[in-house]
Amino acid sequence: MSVVEREKLLEVKNLKKHFKVGRNAVLKAVDNVSFDIYKGETLGLVGESGCGKSTTGRTIIRLYDATDGTVKYDGTDVHGKKSTSELKTFNRKMQMIFQDPYASLNPRMTIKDIIAEGIDIHGLAKSSKEREERVYELLETVGLNKSHASRYPHEFSGGQRQRIGIARALAVDPDFIIADEPISALDVSIQAQVVNLMMKLQKERGLTYLFIAHDLSMVKHISDRVGVMYLGNMVELAGSDELYEEPLHPYTQALLSAIPVPDPEIERNRERIAIKGELPSPIDPPSGCRFRTRCQFATDVCASTAPKWQEAREGHWVACHIYDKEVNMGNKQ
């Protein structure tokens, strides 16, 4: 897809989500994050636990109210005031797939009722027969069959449950799906099944995905572009091949070099960029660049000013002083 014909589906601008913890402390889970998602693409969001990637996803879909900033879906503000009916039409367009297929399905409902819940709320089926047919169709789309409809969640394996979660998300015919770690609870061979299914559905239905995960190799596989988050900030965003081949931010470089590769020869001869120390607390993050306490290139500038979110190359965004034109760090790599 060329740059010209790409149409923005989602615009996230300076998004902030702060949580109050205790009397005077504020946890800045997401702080000033901006990115766009284009129609029909998959944007991957990676980072370690506590970096705010899930909070970003949940704030976009309005499960959390944003503290500041805007999320525009197809031009309309997600967090603006909406009447119940406006909210309803909006909710139909955006759906979510959750991480834990064991906790995200109500154990007391049959699969049919779980999948049809959205259909019922939005009145998408005129008769119970139509409702049933839609459910059967959805089950088949995700690789299950009719006979599964009257069963309960406990009768299914993890991979099958995740398929049910996908069928539920598809039930209202959404355009945009946020998948929050959809495969991390699954076995390797089952992960591949679910990822293949998601890619197939995207092709068939023109879906747009926000794919949140910590498994970098899987994210690279499914995504067109990937954003890397660290401690509530987005530090780098680029096309997935470019990001993996030429990471610019020191954190991305370290993160990529930490992934163990299933190849003994490579593993034996690999030099890792070690990240020293531990993740600082998001309640009292470091001044300036948040990664500076663990960064091997950190200088005084990094402590005093937060790096700008800048386009270092075409379509390759990074927040790091190394790529500032004005500031000369002396250690260009």
Binding site: E48, S49, S157, G159, Q160, D187, V188, S189, I190, Q191, A192, Q193, V195, N196, M199, H214, L216, S217, M218, K220, H221, Y244, A254, L255, L256, S257, A258, I259, P260, V261, P262, D263, P264, E265, I266, E267, R272, A274, I275, E278, L279
Partner: protein
């Protein structure tokens, strides 16, 4: 090399309301002094049960070692009394668990938890044990060990807790260390730190490691030998190079092919269709037959024996029989290309 652990024809069953679950069926593994063996497989493949059987940590009421021997320096651990086993567990063989959040006692200081094993097995005085504890914390790279030793688990991050768990496991200089998914609950950068630490410590102490994991990347990083488990049996075993570069079992192919490669261009992942067998009614034949793209009639009827491919490499598959058709592994399962 000296063999320290030899598991022969291990069979473990669980008694449930639904009937007998045959979780481990005829597993043979061995471990030499100072080497590291990885046991890989999906959930339900029996890898954790095997390790718990070696440690004799299986629930006594509901499970049973039906058959087989677990020879540790000539003693059969499967037949030891609980009293005798207590002397070995934590001192000669110790274990690292998956979740550092739940494997530490939140109401005890870190120091006390490290000292517990030392005091029990080595009859150290309180003072001596505390000194050892501080040294152990230093060994696993915890900053300010003199202060940290008096702190509680909640004051440590996930990665540091796992370091503490490793310190506890190594306290009595065990001959065998069983690490059950030691890095699964951790982030990649922390995982890299812990793997480095484990490799480093193995060089220093000469402890033999059994690494239980589902992550082939971790295996390639840490182990010299690999055993691939599926449906309660070992389907392939060999040196890490043999299993990664010359895999012979279709399940191993499937595992290797279903992992996305960082350097590969977008290809569809080769998923293994279907789900693992139900071990309440384990299949008579090869456990992988139902999901295997190359399955023949004989596969569903008879369990294949392990075929010797080299002195270290074995695979249990009918395709290796001389009468079977020649099948090449799928392209996606080829690791590292030319070799």
């Amino acid at each position: 090399m000296k063999r320290i652990l030899d598991v022969k024809n291990l069979n473990v069953s669980f008694h449930t309301f639904a009937g007998e679950v045959k979780a481990v069926r005829g597993v043979n593994i061995h471990l030499d002094k100072g080497e590291s063996l990885a046991v890989v497989g999906e959930s339900g493949s029996g890898k954790s049960v095997t390790s718990k059987a070696i440690m004799r940590l299986l629930p006594e009421k509901t499970s049973e070692i039906k058959e087989g021997q677990i020879l540790f320096e000539g003693k059969d651990l499967a037949r030891l009394s609980n009293r005798e086993m207590e002397k070995i567990r934590g001192s000669e063989i110790s274990m690292i668990f998956q979740d550092p959040m739940t494997s530490l006692n939140p109401t005890m200081t870190i120091g006390k938890q490290i000292m517990e094993g030392l005091r029990k097995h080595q009859n150290l005085s309180k003072q001596e044990a505390k000194e050892r504890a501080i040294n152990l914390l230093k060994l696993v790279n915890i900053p300010n060990p003199e202060l940290r030793v008096n702190e509680y688990p909640h004051q440590f991050s996930g990665g540091m807790r796992q370091r503490v768990v490793i310190a506890i496991a190594l306290a009595c200089n065990p001959k065998v260390l069983i690490a059950d998914e030691p890095t699964t609950a951790l982030d990649v950068t922390i995982q890299a730190q812990i793997l480095d630490l484990m490799r480093d410590l193995q060089e220093k102490t000469g402890t033999a490691i059994i690494l239980i994991t589902h992550d082939l990347g971790v295996v390639a990083n840490l182990s010299q030998r690999v055993a691939v488990m599926y449906g309660g049996t070992i389907v392939e075993t060999g040196t890490t190079d043999e299993v990664f570069y010359n895999p012979k079992h279709p399940y191993t192919w499937g595992l290797l092919a279903s992992m996305p490669k960082l350097d590969a261009k977008d290809k569809e992942l080769l998923a293994i269709p279907g789900t693992p067998p139900n071990l309440l009614k384990p299949p008579v034949g090869c456990p992988f037959a139902a999901r295997c793209p190359h399955a023949m009639q004989v596969c569903t009827d008879h369990m294949p024996d392990a075929t010797e491919l080299s002195s270290t490499h074995q695979a249990a598959c009918w395709l290796l029989d001389e009468r079977a058709p020649k099948v090449e592994p799928p392209e996606a399962a080829v690791v590292g290309g030319a070799r």
